[in-house]
């Protein structure tokens, strides 16, 4: 930046005006900053990982990192199902997640396509209503949703799983904004060409728009898949009995007063177990997300 001036005026070559020294100083400072922050960001993650192998299962250990290690916590997590049935929670959550994922992708794609490509009279109204609905705090409706599910007879026994799927996926159509923004960048000339060749709108949708949207679909699928793993409020209101708990609720329960004495290390183990699939999904998602950010049609 200042190199041209520096050459022209050699007498001003102080520490901060010498480009090379200045750059080295900047490098050192930024590496120090990044390293310190990286440690801060990694400590809790590393701590959970190490704690999951802790031989001492009591909460609030004397030392920051555990001293003795064992694999017991993982074994117990999957075999000792008398108090908390973690494998069952895991399967419940997994099934709910698969359905939510599929339904949310279909819903978001259809709504986004209509909003981006079709022109009909209620289009603007629909977008504004969705915008307004989004401003109501989501937690407000939680109890009401419980009463509605109860009226539908979906809150007892094994059907809770259907209730969970319904609750997580029914409203996903409202989250069409990102997908619509992506579809808006696809040139309309593509649709027009296809329609001249005799495609119906529906064919345009699944033969042209959907293939182009692939990166965003992956993003949407993963977001949908993650909802049940991360949600905690909805599940707590809907699953009243422990046999229907999802993973998030189980983890929360492990830290309650009655359980924490025996389950502290197992909590960490469970956290690691559910973090692994989420981490993998996340890495995949990030790649597709960046790809889709660079625009829909290249060249």
């Amino acid at each position: 930046m200042s190199s041209k001036h520096a050459v022209a005026e050699p007498e001003r070559r102080g520490l901060l005006h010498d480009q090379k020294k200045r750059r080295i100083l900047g490098d050192v400072l930024s590496y120090v900053l990044l390293s310190v922050l990286a440690i801060i960001w990694l400590i809790p993650v590393v701590w959970v990982f190490l704690e999951s192998f802790n031989k001492n299962t009591k909460p609030y250990p004397k030392t920051f990192f555990p001293t003795e290690f064992t694999f017991d916590n993982y074994v117990k997590l999957f075999t000792d199902t008398t108090v908390l049935n973690f494998p069952k929670m895991f399967t419940t959550t997994f099934i709910v997640a698969c359905f939510t994922c599929a339904i949310s992708v279909v819903f978001v794609l259809s709504v986004a396509f209509c909003m981006s490509r079709m022109r009909f009279r209620t289009r603007r109204t629909f977008m504004n209503i969705v915008l307004i609905l989004g401003m109501f705090p989501s937690i407000m409706a939680v109890t009401a949703i419980y009463f509605i599910l109860k009226a539908m007879n979906l809150t007892n026994g094994n059907v809770t799983i259907i209730a969970l799927i319904l609750v997580y996926s029914a409203g996903t159509g409202a989250g069409f904004y990102v997908m619509k923004g992506f579809m808006d960048t696809i040139p309309t000339s593509l649709d027009e060409a296809a329609m001249i060749d005799g495609c119906t709108r529906f064919q345009v949708f699944y033969k042209i728009i959907i293939p182009i949207c692939k990166p965003m679909i992956v993003y949407q699928a993963i977001t949908g898949f993650l909802i049940p793993w991360l949600d905690f409020v909805m599940a707590k209101v809907i699953c009243r009995t422990q046999s229907n708990y999802t993973v998030a609720l189980g983890l929360w329960l492990m830290l309650q007063k009655e359980y924490v004495q025996n389950f502290y290390a197992r909590f960490a183990a469970a956290a690691v177990v559910i973090s692994i699939p989420i981490a993998i999904m996340f890495i995949v998602m990030q790649r597709f997300y960046q790809e889709s950010m660079s625009g829909s049609v290249k060249g």
């Binding site: 200042s2 990044l34 809790p44 022109r119 969705v130 509605i148 949708f205």
Partner: protein, 468 residues
């Protein structure tokens, strides 16, 4: 239909929407009732008659079945639900002595009455839509039959549904989902704000008008909610949302730029370190943080081991400490997301702008304020607004970290409670549904004001087709 016959309202709409304008359907209810033949007019009473006469049997019968089903529902249950709605039930649960045993007779349950009442009203509204649709399709069938000799068959209808009217097919299920699981609960909950449904009246309650809103704005501090408490929570919510949004944004931007410096090596390594914390589910990391920040938690243990402090620091037990702690923990949670968002945008800024600025002798600060910032602000305004509203409604961080604590004795809201966690506590923990609903409505008003002002002025709303 030509422009000359359009109503003034339509003309205004047409001017406002420009290329987006869709002309109204010529088959209106008014036209049908004035110009339609006898079958079309009768379709207003017997749904689907017009369609059946024009050989659209499936469509016509579907209309008729829907109408009959509605009336059967209305006369068997609907009227009963509606009749109870004004009082929300009066009969208490009773018990009678039968053969020496107490037998409980079922009393009215106001929640159920309210829910069914609301559902019935929604169904009646849907029925009115069906009525409109029935008349319109009958008239359309009549007109098309006159023009073409026969009305479109079910096959033709299906073809239009796949082509020009694909939106009706595609939008049906998503809209239904939103209606049942978003709109209906909201109407139900909003109506609760006007009742006396609290922990004292769990079975029977009644309409109280604006009483609950009055309580929220009353100065009587002995109530569950009062103006001073509401103000305290509201101010803290706004302060929290402001700091959580802008500290996250600027610090995240700063970090992203440090990583993005030309001479910083291992860019991907640094980025992945910061995004590792996103991969751990938020509630797990928050629960871990909470247990680490307890008075006898890991961090205090460590600090005491090193001899830096003698007694545990009150991270989550002192009001001011707790408030600062949640903001800082939120930085830990939020900055990686900002880095992710900003990095892509930073890389998209056209390089030639930077080169031109350098040639003109701009220093890094000028480049930052004149090129980088305007670009990022332009792209990220909608994102910032959503983050702000998201933070106003940020339930997880507060509830899992502090649970609103520290809470003064007897108060319903703690010092770190946001409107949303207060709402949750009032409804789920305390069963004061009416007050929870009132707070939900107030949150909505706050958010609506903030976002309407900013969102409607943002570029991406005004000009959605700018990048096509």
């Amino acid at each position: 239909m030509t422009a000359a016959t359009l109503s003034p309202r339509e003309m205004k709409r047409r001017r406002k929407m420009g290329a987006d304008y869709v002309p109204p359907s010529p088959y209106t209810v008014k036209a049908a009732l004035t110009e339609g033949d006898i079958f079309t007019k009768l379709s207003a009473v017997i749904f689907g008659l017009g369609n059946i006469v024009r050989k659209q049997y499936v469509k016509g019968i579907a209309f008729l079945v829907a109408e009959i089903a509605f009336f059967v529902f209305l006369f068997t249950n609907g009227i009963g639900y509606l009749a109870k709605l004004p009082t929300l039930g009066t009969q208490k649960q009773g018990k009678v002595l039968v053969d020496g045993y107490w037998v409980y007779t079922e009393g009215d349950r106001s929640v159920v009455i309210l829910l069914y009442g609301v559902c019935t009203i929604v169904l009646i509204l849907l029925f009115l839509l069906l009525w409109r649709l029935s008349i319109k399709t009958a008239y359309k069938a009549e007109c098309l039959a006159k023009e073409n000799g026969s009305a479109p068959t079910i096959k033709d209808d299906w073809k239009t549904l796949l082509d020009a009217k694909a939106h009706q097919l595609l939008m049906f299920l998503p809209t239904l989902g939103i209606l049942v699981f978003t709109v209906l609960p909201l109407i139900f909950m909003i109506s609760m704000a006007f009742t006396s449904y609290d922990h004292r009246n769990l079975v029977l309650f009644h309409w109280v008008g604006l009483e609950n809103f009055k309580q929220l704005f009353s100065s009587d501090v002995s109530n569950t909610v009062s103006a001073s408490m509401f103000l305290q929570v509201l101010v803290w919510t706004l302060v929290w949302a402001f700091f959580a949004t802008f500290l996250n944004f600027f610090l995240g931007l700063f970090l992203a730029m440090v990583i993005n410096r030309k001479t910083t090596k291992f860019k991907n390594f640094w980025r992945s370190i910061f995004s590792m914390s996103i991969a751990v589910p938020q509630f797990v990391s928050l629960l871990v943080m909470r247990s680490m920040l307890q008075p006898n938690g890991a961090i205090n243990q460590l600090l005491m081991q090193w001899g830096w402090i003698d007694s545990p620091l009150p991270f989550l037990t002192n009001a001011t400490w707790a408030r600062i702690t949640v903001i800082i923990v939120n930085l830990w949670v939020g900055i990686p997301y900002t880095i992710m968002q900003v990095t892509g945008i930073l890389q998209n800024i056209p390089v030639d702008q930077y080169e031109a600025a350098k040639l003109d002798g701009a220093n890094w600060w000028q480049i930052f304020t004149k090129i980088t910032m305007p670009y990022i602000i332009f792209v990220l305004t909608p994102y910032l607004i959503t983050t702000f509203t998201g933070n106003v409604n940020n339930f997880n961080v507060i509830y899992l970290l502090t649970g609103g604590a520290p809470t003064p004795v007897g108060a319903s809201a703690g010092k770190t409670d946001l409107l949303i966690t207060w709402l949750y506590k009032l409804t789920v923990d305390k069963s004061d549904y009416n007050l929870g609903a009132v707070i939900g409505i107030m949150t909505f008003i706050v958010l609506a004001v903030v976002s309407l002002i900013t969102y409607r002025n943002s570029g991406s709303y005004k000009n959605e087709e700018a990048f096509r």
